[in-house]
Amino acid sequence: MKSKSIAVVGAAETTRMGAVPELSNLGLNLDAALNAMADAGLTPQDIDGIATAGEHPWTVSTMLGIKPKWIDSTNVGGCSYMVHVRHAAAAIAAGYCTTVLITHGESGRSQVAPARYAPNPGTLFGQFESPYGLGAPVTQVTLPALRFMKETDTTEEDLALLAVIQREWAAKNPRAFARDPITVDQVLSSSMIAYPFRKLLCCLVTDGGGALILTSADRAKDFPTKPVYIMGTGEGIEHSIVSMMADMSTSGAFRLSGEAAFASAGITHADVDHVMLYDPFAHVPFYALEDLGFCGRGEAKYLYRERHTAPGGRLPVNTSGGGLSYQHSGMYGMFALQESVRQMRGIAAAQIEGAKVSVCHGIGSMFSAAGTIIFTNEA
């Protein structure tokens, strides 16, 4: 697929986010889809491809009255939507469809008809991890952190500083769930959830959703919105259960996905103006910065200590506030994509002046998978 041959022409989140008890898991998908179609000036009859995770594509498309001839139900955790963007771009380029709708919706906080994952004691997880007390992601995706911290001399204070800086970004954003300023001391005295992770090092649990509409760059000019072009893409899988992670101080999935994205975009890190790095917990962006090559091994902590990632810094990261302070419904990847698109359109709450290239990177499940999209607003 040629770089910049596909564009995002519709992008929107659910009408309300945070606590949305009046909508179900499915309803959040549909609300986001209606908003994205309105944004692009399209009707369901104009959509001929559908991708979603959590809910099933046939549910979302049928409820909206869409008759898709291209389908993607890839579910590799919270980065599924990055992977959907990549697959949709390839499908449009191949001529399988012309206009793809990608939806996310999750009743993470209110739990109105959520997608349930039934534990199965015969799976790899059921046999070799669950018996030791693993449950929520806070006991799984966090497990590699102490090894990373030892190998890279990254401290609990560094993780706390990331949370503080992301809250600074969130304070600029009226849609952010958590906006009150916090200090490193406050983060490090918040309640312990799973050592070394305290409450303020963990993502929010909210309700919400988002949707994207993609089409070919040739057609993008005819839409009411400013086109945001797909410049480069990547995806990858490293392992299944977290205990199979080859080296807990670096993510193989991140490296696979990041290398493919930068190679297909044909850019270097110096060309990047804005970065979104999926942050279910505060350690994950440190891995991403190192594994995607924004800095050397063990150097991500300096990007925070020297405030390069903060408002006014040279490498703004997670400008919405991220999963820690903006919103986190469960499969957060869609919200990272929405902020990248807003930055490229020039309409973000904390807009980076003159930003032309945005890197959006997601983690899937327990460092199991990754997806990376590089956007640009220059044709």
Partner: protein, 134 residues
Amino acid sequence: MQRALPQPTPETRHFWDGCKAGELRLQRCRACTHTYFPPRPFCPQCVSRDVEVVVASGRATLYSYVINHRPRPDMGKEPHSIAVVTLAEGPRMMTNIVDCPQTPEALVLDMPLEVRFEPQNDDITLPFFRPVEG
């Protein structure tokens, strides 16, 4: 409340039978000598199906962990470790570190450990690990 227990499959039966017999059983490839875990009837390094079951020493080191302060209902009320250990033979596995305080001070990365088997019912015995003198 009974702890959530594994349901062995044909591919993993040797491992769980080993735990019941007090042996930590891994698999080794006869073609390339690679020792691996979790179980599968072929070598993940060279895909040879010529593999054998071998008994591990039970020695390991602490690779990484968390201390869960909000235990699952079947795991009691006290904070407990969830750890990944590196076996002397190379493979890693998840476990709980037992017979020591569940604190960062007592749980030091790379500390030496040894296996301790604990029957859960007639069929399932779980391997745990405990600190040993270096």
